[in-house]
Amino acid sequence: MAATLCGTLLAKSGWLPLTQCGRVRHMSKSVTRHKRPMHIIKQKLMAVTEYIPPKRLAAGAYPSQNKKVEVESGLVLLLKKEVKTVFQDCKMIAVVQNNASNSEDMLTLRHRLHKHSLTVKFFPNQVMRSFLKDSEFCNMAPLFIGSTVLIVSTQGKVKEMLSTLRGSPQMVLLGACVDGTLLSAQGVQHYSKLPSVSVVQGELVSGLTLLSSRTASLLRHHPARLSALLQQYVGQQGAPAAEPRPQESEGVAAQS
């Protein structure tokens, strides 16, 4: 009652009591050696406004809007042109893994291959993969991992290549592209065992003419047999007519 009376009296006089006067301060010191326990409201506020770091997104979930165009260097472009020329000109392109053969072995191998007009080419895998992904030979891309070497030929001498590679055990044939067809290592070996084109053409022609030649022989068979039989008959008829003549002559000789 006293407080309300005081409040009304003071309000009329224009002096408002400070609200801080009514407050009871616990722990009067603000800077303490121990951690000051937070007021419950402050605790709630801190809990609500706690920092939550952003979660890492899965790769590719939000692709970047500005696509970074990788500009290839001049050397890479030059090498790509060379690779394109190789693929256009060469009938056979073999991919071989090179298990760190030394320079002498490589020189010997190149010399042996050169005798059969086979060339060894070295290109970086990055250049090969960037060329292959845009071309029709994209299925060859998995072969180009690690240290690889290309053996190319304009004439497709697969047999000679295989015989030369047998002498170098550290060179492993992975696959080849022969006449626009991608072959595995076993496919290359089967290809090497195939006969030459001229032999195959000759076999094809003989197979096709076999039927027509059989027809011709069948048609001629009956008249040929008839003529043979007639000749034999004539021969037989001629022989008995000739036999009595020596008997007559013997009879004449006996009478005389």
């Binding site: 760190a100 998995p142 690690g146 992975l174 076993q186």
Partner: protein, 106 residues
């Protein structure tokens, strides 16, 4: 190739290394890296009697490395889910174990 080992590959206790792989598959990178490390000139120079053979297939089979040691023990590693470094570490740990055994016997 990304794989590089600080310690060299020593094939003294190895009789034969046979690597089977299908190069058109996507899981042969580690096997090819292992083959590169084991088939290198330095590694082969440590033991001239060791055969390193490679069988290239095209049947979608898993890449397998079959190592036969001189005492008859075999180490078979399926490289589809392994890295080249892991394969090399496993191989080198076996070689080291055999080396210590041989030294202990002496």
């Amino acid at each position: 190739m990304a794989a590089s080992s600080k310690s060299s590959v020593v094939l003294k206790a190895v009789k034969q290394v046979m690597v089977q792989m299908c190069p058109f598959e996507s899981n042969v990178r580690s096997t090819r890296e292992f083959l590169f490390m084991v088939g290198s000139e330095k590694a082969r120079a440590t033991n001239m009697n060791c055969e390193v053979s490679t069988v290239v297939k095209h049947d979608e089979s898993e890449p397998v490395v079959d190592i036969t040691f001189t005492d008859g023990e075999r180490l078979v590693m399926k490289g589809a889910k392994l890295t080249g470094q892991e394969m090399l570490q496993a191989f080198q740990s076996r070689c080291l174990a055999k080396d210590t055994q041989a030294q202990a016997k002496k």
